[in-house]
Amino acid sequence: MNILEKENKKVVLLGNEAIVRGALESGVDFVSVYPGTPSSEIGNIFFKLSQLKKFKGYFEFSTNEKVALEAGIGASFSGLKVLVAMKNFGANVALDALAPFAYTGSKGATVIIIADDPSCHSSGQSEENSRGFAQLVHLPILEPSTPQENKEFVKQAFQLSEKFNIPVIVRITTRVAHQRSLVNLAKIKTSKTKGFFKKDKNQFITLPPRVLEMKKELFEKLEKIKNLAEKSAINKIIKNSSSHSKIAVITSGVSYLNVMEALQETKTNLAVLKLGFFYPLPEDKIKNFIKNLKKVLIVEELEPYLENEVTRLAKQVNCQLEVVGKKLFSQIGEITPDQTAQAIAQITGKKLKNKKLLEKQDNQIEIPKRMPRLCPGCPYWLVVSALKKAVDPKKVIFGGEIGCYMLLGMPSVNMQDYLFCMGSSVGIGHGIRKSTNQKLISFIGDSSFFHAAIPALINAVTNKSSLLIIILENQTTAMTGHQPHPGAPSSGEPGIKIENIVKACGVNYVKTIDPINQKEFVDTLKSFLNKPEVSVIISKKPCIQIKK
C-alpha cells in the first residue's frame, strides 16, 4: 500500500490518503469519523489499517459526527493525539461540541478535517462553506491545495495544536480530497492507546464565569497564532523580478492550482499570495502584499470571506486599491480552470487565445441526461414496487432522506416531496402531519436512523403524531462506501436491533418485513397508513453491494 511505504519514498497518493499519512507521521493515537463524501476515504483507510493491524492506535466509525467529535474530545482530554474527520454538514452536527472545545482547548493535539463540496457533486442540503465556522468558533483553519500539502498541513496542524493546546481545523474540498499526485513520505511515528485523564476543573468545565475567562485565553492564543501565521512558510508569495508591479492575485486551496495553470497558459506574470492559513489571516503579510498594487484579484470559491478581509485591510494601507473577486466569480459552484483564465485575462486586459473548437454538426442528436439511480437489484426497488401497489402516490406525501434513497426522487420513482438533512425525513414529516390531514410516509435508512432519527421518532410519538416511517434496513452505510453502523457492526456481531429501539420509543405499530414478501408489505402499508399513531415498517434486506 502506497500509504504505508517507507520514509523518503515518493508515492502516488489520493488527497484523502495523504491526510491519513500526515496523521500517521504525526503519531495520531485516536481517530473517529462519520462517513461523508468527500471525506469518507479517511475513515475507510484507517478502518482497513486497523483490520490489518498496521495502525496501532484506536479507530472507530462513530454513530454521528457529534459523538465522533465528543469521543475525540475525551481522548484529547486524556492526553492522546486525535484526528476527527467529517464532511461540511457533519460539522453542523458536531458544532455543539466544537464551540466549547475551542474554549477549553485541547490537551492531546487534535486535528479536525472538514471536507466541503463546492458544486454539490455528492451533496444535497446546501452548498455549505465551512470556512464560515472560523469567526463562529474561533479555531485556526488551514487550507491545503494538493495531496502533498494535505500531508504537510495535517502535520503542521498537529504541531500547532500541540504548541497552543487548541484544536485545529484542516479544511479541504472535493478537488483537493479526490486529487492524485506525488507525495514525499516521512517517517511514521508510533501511536499509543492508553492516555490518562488528569483532573483539572479549570480546564474542562465550561461554566460561567470561568467560560468567559476561557474566551479571553482563546483570543490570546489566536493572537499568538496570528503572529506565527505572519512568518509561516505555508503563506507564501510566488513572484519574480518581472512580475507585474500593479496587479496581483490572492488565493488558496484548489483555486491556487487553477491560478498557476492560468498564469502559465496565458503567459502572464502576476505575483501570487497563496494563503495556507484561512484563519487567523496573516494580516501584515497581506497588507504588505497589497500596499503598492492598483488591482488585486481574489480567486476564491463560494462566499467572499477573503475578499471582504482584503477589502477591509486595504482601507488601512491602500485606499485606492481595486479588490476584484465576486465581480468576476460566482458565489455558487466550484471555480474551473477556464473561469480562472478568463478572470486573469480580464483583470490584465489581455485577450485570451481563441480556443479551437470542434466543428458544429448538422442534425446533432440530443443525448438524454444520465442521472444517478438505484442500482439494479437494490432492495429499495421492492419497496417502491410495494408502495405503488399499496397507495396512490399522488395522495401521499413522501419524506426524502440522505443516503441511497435520495434517489427515490428520480423520475421513474417520483416518491419524494422534501429532502433536507439527516433525520429530517421524520422530523419534518411529524411537522407536516401535525399541520395537515394528509397521509405521509417518511423514508429513513438504518445508518441515518441511528445518526439522527431517534430523537425525531421520540418527538413524534411524544407529541402524538401519526406518520408512517419506513426504515430501510440494508445493513450498511451504502452511499458513502458501505461502512458499518451500530445495527450492522464490522465484527459480524448482531449489533443493536432497530426494532427494539422503535418499540422502546413507544411505537405500538412496528413490523419488520423482508420486502421480497410483497403481499405482506402491501397489506402492512395499507393498514399502517390508516393508524392514528406513529407506525414503523422496517424493510429488512441487505444491500447487494455488501461483501460477504
Binding site: H178, Q179, L182, L357, Q361, Q364, P368, R373, M406, G481
Partner: protein, 199 residues
Amino acid sequence: MHTNKKINEFNLLIVGTGGQGQITLLQVLAEAAFIDQFDFKSSELHGLSQRGGSVKVHIRFGKEIHSPMIEKNKADLILGLEMQESLLARDFAYPETIFLVNKHFIPVVPGKKVSQEQVSDQLKKMNKNVFLVPANEICQKELGTSVTAGIYLISFACFKKFIPIKPQSILKAIEKTITKKHLDLNIKTFNLASKINNQ
C-alpha cells in the same frame, strides 16, 4: 497522432457511467505517469456521482502540471467507456482530439430514446480521429468477462501511441495497483491489447 516523446502537457479525459471502473483506471494511469517520470495530477468524483450517473475523470501529465482539471476544448484524448457519454464529452475536444470509444451502449433510463446507430453515426462525424473499439465484446470473448474493458482500452491507447506513456509502464502500474485477486485477469487484458499491432 501523438508519439512517445517527452511532452509539455497531455490531457486525458475518461468518461463513462458510474460503476465502469474509472477510478481504477486513474490509479493505473497515475502510477504509469509516475514511472515515466511525468509530473501529473488527476481529478475524480466519488459517492453519489457513482450511482449510474455520468462520470468524468481527468488526468493530466507533462513537464509542470498545476490544475488537476482539464479545461474545455483541451483534452488531447477522450477515452469513452460508453458511447453516449463520449458524445457528451465533445465540449472538451478540439479538432485534433482523439476519441477512443468503447463500442458499448448503456441506455439512459428514463429518457428520450436514442439508438446505438444514431450515436455511432454522430460519433464518427465528430472529427477525423474517432476510434470505435468493441472492448467489452473483445474482453468477453477472449477473457470470459468484460469487467476489464477499461484496462483493455488504456493499454490499447498506449500501444497505439495515443497516450505518450510506455506500454511497459502500464503493465508495471497494473502490477502495482491491482489487488492479487484480480491481477491475473488484468495482465491477460493488457496482453490481449498488445495484440492490436498484429491486426
